[in-house]
């Protein structure tokens, strides 16, 4: 029995319409599936957002670490600062402390010192302190590299000082946050996948009898499968959207309050990484929905197949 094009179209349209009808006629089922998927996707997105913020914070923190550069007397702080600001990875401006400022802060701290440095005859003050520069960096892991470059390429540098230990530690924390964050995201991703597929499987399992009946009255596999795929797609889309709304809300309201409470913590400006994450959440929702339902329906169709092979010789 060959089918003409309009027959095929009608079958497709009917099959798709069935998907919508099923959802509407099992509101409880639809609600449970969508809410479960929303929770799973929402948690996934929420954690990716938090991880992205954590990475940003630890980066911000590391810019507090500075390389201190001591200059020889013949080098002016201005020209050295200009040279250093030209190095890649250095965050302008480089803070300049002149010989005079260094002396002033030291003698203020140790009043005895002033007398000792003063020439008893000319009352001229000898200044043993060098001019210093405080160099901030964009990324703490470049500290050793940049320190070496300053020593090598900037003339008139007497010495440098950098808290390598703390830098190393912060550096490791950053890598750890990234690695563990990636691990968490991967685990959560798999968890979301498992939960979504399980939920859809339960929903389809509940319709096992219907699938059987449709098969028995002659519906081809694709005809049975299509409505479920559409349903899965819509479930995925709906829960992805709801999860995104929750994420946006979280970003705009409570996170802003957190920011105000913790003024020192610098969060990414604006909506930050929300766009790529929400796109990912939506995509995951759609894929999971379709994958979940197609896998589940497949189960029942596969079951029948194996039953058909069950020829037993008498």
């Amino acid at each position: 029995m060959a089918l003409d094009a309009s027959q095929m179209t009608r079958q497709w349209l009917f099959s798709l319409q069935q998907g919508l009808q099923n959802m509407v006629r099992s509101p409880f089922m639809s609600l449970v599936v969508v809410s479960t998927m929303t929770v799973a996707l929402g948690v996934l997105g929420f954690l990716m957002l938090t991880l992205s913020d954590l990475t940003y914070i630890s980066q911000q923190m590391s810019t507090q670490l500075k390389i201190v550069v001591f200059l020889q007397d013949q080098q002016t702080p201005e020209s050295a600062a200009a040279l250093i600001e030209g190095i890649k990875g250095v965050k302008a401006p480089v803070v300049q402390i002149s010989k005079e400022e260094a002396l002033k802060s030291m003698t203020e701290e140790l009043p005895d010192l002033k007398k000792l440095l003063e020439d008893p005859h000319t009352h001229e003050v000898h200044n043993p302190f060098p001019a210093t520069l405080e160099v901030s960096l964009y990324a703490v892991e470049k500290m050793a590299e940049i320190e070496a470059e300053i020593k090598k390429n900037v003339p008139g540098v007497e010495g440098t000082e950098a808290n390598q230990d703390l830098a190393e530690q912060l550096n490791q924390i950053q890598s750890a946050v990234q690695l563990v964050g990636f691990g968490i995201a991967a685990i959560l991703f798999l968890g979301t996948l498992a939960i979504v597929i399980n939920t859809i499987q339960l929903a389809v399992h509940h319709r096992q009898r219907e699938i059987e009946i449709m098969h028995l009255v002659g519906a081809p596999d694709w005809f049975i499968r299509l409505p479920f795929l559409l349903e899965g797609l819509i479930f995925g889309m709906a829960s992805g959207l709801v999860a995104n709304i929750l994420l946006f809300f979280w970003r705009v309201v409570p996170l802003e309050q957190l920011k105000r409470m913790f003024t020192f913590i610098q969060l990414q400006p604006g909506l930050g990484p929300l766009y790529p994450i929400s796109a990912l959440v939506l995509l995951v929702g759609l894929l999971m929905g379709v994958l979940g339902s197609s896998l589940s329906v497949h189960r029942y169709i596969r079951f029948e197949k194996s039953a058909e092979k069950g020829k037993i010789p008498v």
């Binding site: 029995m1 219907e210 449709m214 081809p220 058909e308 008498v314």
Partner: protein, 231 residues
């Protein structure tokens, strides 16, 4: 048309439901299948639309050995076979009209044509008033008539009815049987399993009697019991 060659069916539990059946049924004929409960009537019918596979032997329908159909050919076989199931098998989420329409949607029949055909079978089975009801809102007999309506709506070349009057009163049963014989006259091959002795006796068609999976009687124009008991 339909031919069983040395067909046996043993269920996975070890129950031997059919035991070396050999049988030929002509196109456009009307055949009763009788026998005590558990004698294998439903199993024989299930083999014909591939709900079950035979354990051994071959079954030919439309000149094809349906024991060796590929995965894609099974839906085609079922589309050409109307089945009234003993337990109705209505889709619970669909109304009466939608249940009947489903058999046409599978074939991609146009909406106008669908409406026409559904209207006519609803009339034949006296279900017009219940077109929009769901199966759970129907009485047993009404559900059974929906199952009949769905089986005949696409005018299939083969019609299998498993106990189609078990939940019907005598008058309705008589009407349904008349309907089935009329369908047979129009060229459809009809096989009806039944316990309804009065109707079998009255209609005088071919009667095949099963007992413990074996054909024990096969009479053209016979009654329910050849060696009649008192009922």
């Amino acid at each position: 048309m339909i031919r069983f060659v040395n067909v046996s069916k043993v269920y996975p539990t070890g129950n031997k439901a059919l035991d070396n059946i050999n049988l030929e049924i002509e196109a456009g004929s009307f055949t009763f299948l009788v026998g005590t409960t558990g004698s294998g009537k439903s199993t024989l019918i299930k083999l014909l639309y591939r709900e079950e596979l035979a354990s051994s032997g071959d079954i030919w329908v439309f000149g094809k050995n349906i024991e060796h159909l590929s995965r894609n050919e099974v839906p085609t076989l079922r589309q050409q076979t109307g089945v009234v199931f003993q337990d109705f098998k209505l889709l619970p989420q669909k109304t009466v009209a939608e249940n009947i329409a489903f058999a046409l949607e599978i074939l991609g029949v146009a909406k106008k044509e669908q409406e026409k055909r559904i209207h006519s079978v609803l009339e034949l089975t006296h279900l017009q008033a219940m077109a929009k009801a769901y199966p759970r809102e129907l009485s047993g007999g009404e559900q059974q008539r929906v199952s009949v309506a769905r089986a005949i709506v696409n005018k299939p070349p083969v019609l299998l009815a498993d106990e189609p009057t078990g939940n019907l009163d005598p008058d309705s049963s008589w009407e349904i049987m008349k309907l089935l014989t009329k369908i047979a006259k129009s060229g459809t091959t009809v096989v009806v399993s039944t316990h309804n002795k009065p109707l079998v006796d009255l209609l005088k068609r071919r009667v095949i009697k099963l007992d413990q999976g074996k054909i024990v009687e096969d009479n053209q124009g016979g009654g329910y019991n050849q060696h009649g008991t008192r009922r």
